[in-house]
Amino acid sequence: MSLRGKAAIVGVGETPVDRLGGKPGEPRKVTAEYLAWAVRLALEDAGLTKKDFDGQGLAAIYTTNHSQPFWPEEVANILGITPAVSLGGGNGGASAVSLLGQAAAMIDAGVVDLVLVVAAAAPFSEHGRNRAEPADTRDFEMPFGVMGPNCKISFVMSRYMHESGMTTDHFGKIAVTTRYHASLNPDAYLRKPLTLEEYKSARLISDPIRLYDCVLPANGGKAYIMASPERAKTLRKPPVYLLGWGECHNASAGPRFRANPLITGIRESGKAAFEMAGISLSDIDFLALYDDYVPIVMLQIEDLGFCKKNDKEFFERTDFTFKGELPIQTGGGMINCGQPSTTGGMLHVIEAVRQLRGEGGARQVAGAKVGVVTGLGAVNYGKNFGCTAAAILGKQY
């Protein structure tokens, strides 16, 4: 089954992010408010109303701080929509890209004509209950003081530096480039340009991971709308088509008791997306990669095939700015725009849409026609990401 050109993104919306924690007297918003706000912005962008979604598709992404088993139904109830199909995004940060294909499949099958995909989270203002952890984490990581993803991705980065010979200069180059893009993006949260020296002298969080290697947690909401190509042509904004898509979950490079943590499932999900799109690496104008940590951006560039594994020289010679030969994170990525829990994965879809519509402003990639978007979720014991998804989006199909 191919989903090439079978659905298009016709609307996007994102609230500003904040880090308000609900201290006494401090203004505070809850998840439902960010959710409704993001949906209104996406509807306005598409020129649709909420009534248009009765009898259509609704997809809500589960978040870590505000989740219950009926979350998609609660979202329909909050918004006052009566969908014919309710999808749940249970792949963490990969959900936004996962749902691109899942929504397109529902549209292609003729079940619905429109799908509204929405995510919101307010980890600072709504602490929620203690989250339930996977059994491996609960029993074999937390008792040893493993501090969540910071610690687990530090294992990956420590091994990556050991095998590739890369240093803080290599990781710093990526951090400086993405901050430069954020400085050109009025919607970014961290906009002050970062120097390599500032990156290298920032405090260690979990060696070798430093402050500016890490994503920035935030409150916020994001939404996008998918439509059939026929419907898309009648709407306000130029459609952005799904050209290719793939998912891969619980990937294990090597035996499951000792996987290679430097290879992600993006190797498989990316390959599937390129095969579906029928294009090659040289057709790609920009990458919007899931970026909870700097080294993860680099592993994905390798796994998509833009260079070989541990290719130190490639990272030294390539210009990753929006004017360069391989633009990445053109809006600054989650590291600079904030990660409202699993909502963060929506950022890359929305930035890709902006670039392909030519709405990138000062950071616009000239003549952008095709881009890659990825999503990652859940860090498994002894490995890297459990959930991976990749999509190729384009102006035309």
């Binding site: 491996d136 040893f144 003081g145 910071n150 035996p255 008791f257 000792r258 943590p261 002894g382």
Partner: protein, 142 residues
């Protein structure tokens, strides 16, 4: 007494029917892991059935407890309320250790100055009591 009462607890493993043999052996100073009788693969973390071939004939098998550091980190900040009990131990080392038999285990490196910990370092298991009857397998230089 007052200090003891204020001490923030660290999370302990939940003993389940799947993991019970592991923790029982640990309490007796032995490191054991599951091995599949059908395909001979090691299975780690504990599972109800072999993750390679699906067989339920898994055998708890002693391993040497010897291995090498595959990757490590120095924890310098607490993240999340559930782990506040580790605040007083900071900085400390968590690591992935490749056991001689093959499986990779996540644990702490103990009995070694932080600056001496390195990838490839030979280590051996040592059990530390973490709660009533709960012994965690940790690793020290050998």
């Amino acid at each position: 007494m007052a200090d003891e009462r204020r001490e923030i607890p660290k999370p302990l493993p939940e003993i389940t029917p799947v993991t019970q043999p592991f923790w029982e052996a640990a309490a007796n100073g032995k490191l054991v892991m599951q091995r599949c009788r059908a395909c001979r693969s090691w299975v780690w973390c504990p599972r109800p059935a072999c993750v390679e071939c699906g067989s339920e004939k898994l055998e708890w098998t002693p391993v040497s407890g010897r291995g090498n550091v595959f990757a490590f980190t120095v924890i310098r900040e607490v993240v999340g309320r559930a782990l506040r009990g580790f605040e007083k131990d900071i900085p400390y080392v968590t690591a992935w250790i490749d056991l001689e038999e093959g499986p990779r285990i996540c644990s702490n490196i103990v009995g070694c100055p932080i600056e001496k910990v390195a990838i490839g370092m030979p280590v051996e298991v040592v059990f530390e009591e973490a709660g009533p009857g709960i012994f965690l397998p940790k690793f020290r230089p050998r």
